[in-house]
């Protein structure tokens, strides 16, 4: 399959996801932060899952995080993702866990606990994804 033009799998675009993806397209990811209790959340939703306040505001994230887990796909499921490729789970410094990919150099041993920094990858079809690189 020609992966140069493969379509990046579409994100779930519920009502509350759209502002996040708009911020990602502008390469400055925002997530919801609760004005009541201060909790950040991912994925976005109708209100704060920690305290049920509906007073949540969009704020830019700092971009730092720590790897919680990682896998290497050896089987291809999606045209845009020929194997092998990695998927990581990152706990961002604001608290929530995000699923993403690690770009560039990868750790030689255990990836868990490695510090990472947010980056923005432009896919061959033009989609922009928040990804991570090992922190300098």
């Amino acid at each position: 399959m020609n992966t140069d033009t493969a379509q990046t799998p579409s994100p779930v675009l519920g009502l509350y996801d759209r502002p996040m993806w708009e911020s990602i397209r502008k390469r400055g990811m925002h997530l919801q932060c609760c004005q009541g209790c201060g909790a950040w959340q991912y994925p976005p939703g109708p209100g704060c899952t920690a305290c049920l306040s509906e007073n949540v505001v969009w704020r830019p994230v700092g971009g730092g995080g720590t790897i919680l887990s990682w896998v290497i796909f050896h089987r291809q499921y999606l045209a845009a993702y020929p194997a092998p490729y990695n998927v990581i789970a990152v706990r961002i410094d604001e608290g929530p866990v995000m699923i993403s990919n690690l770009e560039g150099d990868t750790p030689s041993g255990n990836w868990i606990g490695q510090r990472v920094a947010l980056t923005y990858a432009e896919m061959p079809d033009g989609a922009v994804l928040p990804r991570f690189t090992l922190a300098a």
């Binding site: 990046t8 799998p9 579409s10 994100p11 779930v12 991912y42 994925p43 899952t49 919680l68 887990s69 990682w70 896998v71 290497i72 796909f73 050896h74 089987r75 499921y77 999606l78 845009a80 993702y81 490729y85 998927v87 789970a89 929530p96 866990v97 995000m98 699923i99 993403s100 990919n101 255990n110 868990i112 989609a127 994804l129 990804r131």
Partner: protein, 391 residues
């Protein structure tokens, strides 16, 4: 807050009086030859007919019907020709629970629970662009932009974090697939019957590293049904009724889409609470269980269950698998039919009839001697359900 003793009304309120299933070994061969032996309703019909025959009841005696999640309730009832006075739709373990609830509350006396699935011949996708389950679990579809859609990959992420936290090795996880193949080699109803070794496991290819091919369930067609009846009636009509003795449930929903309950606690809090509730209702604990059946879409479920339901200390599942053992000759016979990895992938339904067979004492070569109590657990997406069957 509920305490564990608050739900004992269902204890021994109902019993399984009939079990049946389709011939998935034959249909596996036929599907591989390009045939389509039946659709989901056809497999459900075959299983229901077998279960009804096993129970000795007439179809007219069935006054409750629960359809599994892969068939429409109305059409299944139409195909089976049943106009019940009570009906529902549920997965394997909740079908059993809801049948007991309906019977105990007087809404039905004899409930058929029926599952049919043509997932193999229909080409159902559990990973990729058409991944199933996203309507129920947002985590199955939310991470698609980053290439994460397969449910196996969710368990690969879980196992990577788990082995880092607990010190378990891939070879220790391999003991699960080896043990279950040991059981299935003695089960004429199992699709995969060739024994394997840990060396075979380690040499097998990764699908999503750190999980190997042998860590993944089969995908095959088939159907399973059970007839569950009110306890006193069951005793009158059945020589070996199998009673539902204990039930417990605990769900982890918070943080579920970003996989946090899988990656940080490995479902442990939910399993421990479901276990406590079911043991309290049953009146005994894990030391009294003769056979364990674990929902095993992936082998990873088994070590999580061993720790979560109290069969070993937290962090000791690898050692337990290696030293005590869950296969033939092991201390805790587990998934004695071969499970999803080796017998058949009936999404927990075939595990129920294996529970009944072990308690009836009809398992032949793989029969666990003097089997009195069998424990079934499932923890799909952090929804822990614990079910105890007893003679």
């Amino acid at each position: 807050m509920s305490t564990p003793s608050e739900a004992p009304r269902l204890r021994r309120a109902a019993a399984v009086v009939g079990i049946g299933h389709s011939d998935w070994v034959r249909d596996w061969s036929r599907a591989r030859a390009g045939e389509k032996p039946a659709d989901s309703y056809g497999y459900g019909m075959q299983a229901f007919s077998a279960a009804l025959k096993d129970s000795g009841l007439r179809r007219e005696d069935v006054d409750g019907l629960i359809a599994g999640p892969t068939t429409a309730y109305e059409r299944l009832g139409e195909v089976l020709g049943i106009n019940p006075r009570w009906g529902d739709q549920a997965d394997a373990v909740l079908s059993v629970v809801q049948a007991c609830s309906a019977i105990e509350s007087g809404l039905a006396d004899v409930v058929a629970i029926v599952y049919g699935n043509d997932q193999r011949t229909a080409g159902t996708q559990y990973g990729g662009p058409q991944a199933m389950g996203g309507d129920a679990f947002l985590s199955y579809v939310y991470h698609a932009p980053w290439g994460l859609t397969s449910q196996g990959a969710l368990y690969a992420l879980t196992f990577q974090a788990y082995k880092n936290a607990r010190g378990m090795t891939e070879a220790e996880l391999g003991e699960v697939a080896v043990a279950q193949r040991g059981w299935s080699s003695m089960n004429p109803n199992a699709i995969m019957r060739k024994r394997i070794t840990v060396e075979d496991y380690m040499a097998s290819r990764y699908v999503c590293e750190p999980l190997h091919l042998f860590d993944y369930c089969l995908i095959n067609d088939g159907g399973v049904a059970m007839i569950i009846a009110e306890a006193e009636y069951a005793k009158r009509i059945c020589e070996t009724p199998v009673f539902i003795q204990g039930i417990g449930r605990s769900d982890l929903n918070r943080g579920a889409t970003s996989l946090e309950p899988r990656l940080t606690d490995f479902y442990l809090p939910a399993q421990q609470q479901a276990a406590a509730r079911s043991y309290a209702m049953a009146g005994f604990g894990p030391e009294d269980i003769d056979v364990l059946q674990v929902y095993d879409s992936f082998s990873v479920h088994v070590p999580l269950a061993l720790e979560g339901y109290g069969y070993c200390a937290v962090g000791d599942a690898g050692k337990f698998l290696r030293e005590r053992g869950i296969g033939p000759g092991g201390k805790l016979p587990t998934n004695t039919g071969g499970g999803h990895l080796s017998e058949t992938y009936m999404q927990g339904w075939a595990h129920q009839i294996e529970c009944v067979r072990q308690l009836r004492g009809t398992c032949g070569e793989r029969q666990v001697p003097d089997c009195r109590h069998v424990h079934y657990t499932s923890d799909v997406a952090g929804k822990a359900v614990s079910l105890i069957y007893s003679r």
